[in-house]
Symmetry: C4
Subunit: 124 residues, 4 copies
């Protein structure tokens, strides 16, 4: 299958709520970058995380295997450092081959969860 | 009416919750690809479904009649195999003529439903 | 101010829930096409509504004055015919000068409202 | 880091609910433009706010420092005038260097919050 997508992706609205209602992990408040690699070779990507009042964190390195999707929770990023909760951030992802990126947040701070999603901004 | 849209579309964030609250089918937790064919000839499209840890499923074949919209629920796909619930997936749709694709999820796992939508990623 | 936007816009996911909770009109279940005309001349646009199993309805004609936004509720369209409730539809909007279109639904069928939005698909 | 994004961005669906449930400020009903500046120099941007029935307000001036994100709440804009609540509006942002803009609303008028987001419309 031929590659599909772009090399550079950005999400400007990042925020992981620190509290949750409902069973974990599926209803834990979280933010995800859903990555799709349609190609027949693995894609290597790195993420940089931008903040309001400090220098960026990263790079965070991820690999998306050939013909696979990876629904990456920002909650789970640990290396080089975890993403702080209740803190505005943004994300730029650069991949060595075209992929597709969609951003989603599930917010379960209150009793009933809220959802939002968008295809991320892409270039190149 | 002249065709409108693109030939290739991708949704990276797929997930069908297995539980629901409220009357079926309208408030059943579901995920949909809403397809619009403005042209005066039917569009033939096929979907491939990508997973985290197995080879893709498909192709799933759908036809959108001339001057019609088809709000396709992923819940209803059966051939060649149903989409598993509570499982991250992604989708690539290829059409033989331009169409427009919008992705929506209604999540009614908790008492009050949540909604999200985005125009899918397009090429060609 | 110079024009901004595109001439042709599409929304594939249309659906107006027939029931609501909460005070009207602000919390009535509704679907809107939010139209922005930055130019110094009025924009004339027409909408065609597509269905699953019948020929399209329209054209519906709207005008967006110079330097104004129009948050058009599909619920309010009457001429040439109202949009049926609880019925999947899609929409194509064509404008005589560039505008920007964003799609939103507020669903208050259950006690707590749900929201979704996306910039519509654009061409030309 | 090289710049990423576009110079002109538009949000057509603006609306700040006047009421809220839950702790302030994080669960106050609000609308945000999340701005990301990946470049090594600050970005200067101005916003114009469009209404249904009056001339636009603005310009509102903001600066996004180098390698930072700014999650700008429309609720907080004061100069030259606050944005009225419960009133449809739209927004055009022009920046002197490329940035990325994502639009989000949190609506907590009812007991459980609702969320929506989209990458804004971009040009140039």
């Amino acid at each position: 299958m031929q590659p599909l997508g772009k090399h550079i992706w950005a999400i400007a609205e990042g925020y992981i709520p620190s509290t949750s209602h409902g069973p974990a992990p599926e209803l834990t408040s979280h933010e995800a970058a859903c990555l799709l690699n349609c190609a027949d070779t693995p894609a290597k990507a790195n993420l940089m995380i931008y903040f309001t009042d400090r220098e960026p964190a990263g790079p965070y390195e991820v690999e998306i295997p050939a013909r696979r999707t990876l629904h990456l929770r920002f909650n789970d990023l640990e290396d080089p450092e975890p993403i702080p909760r209740d803190t505005p951030y943004a994300c730029v992802l650069r991949s060595d081959q075209p992929i597709v990126v969609q951003h989603t947040r599930l917010d379960s701070r209150q009793a009933e969860n809220a959802l939002m999603t968008t295809i991320a901004y892409s270039e190149g």
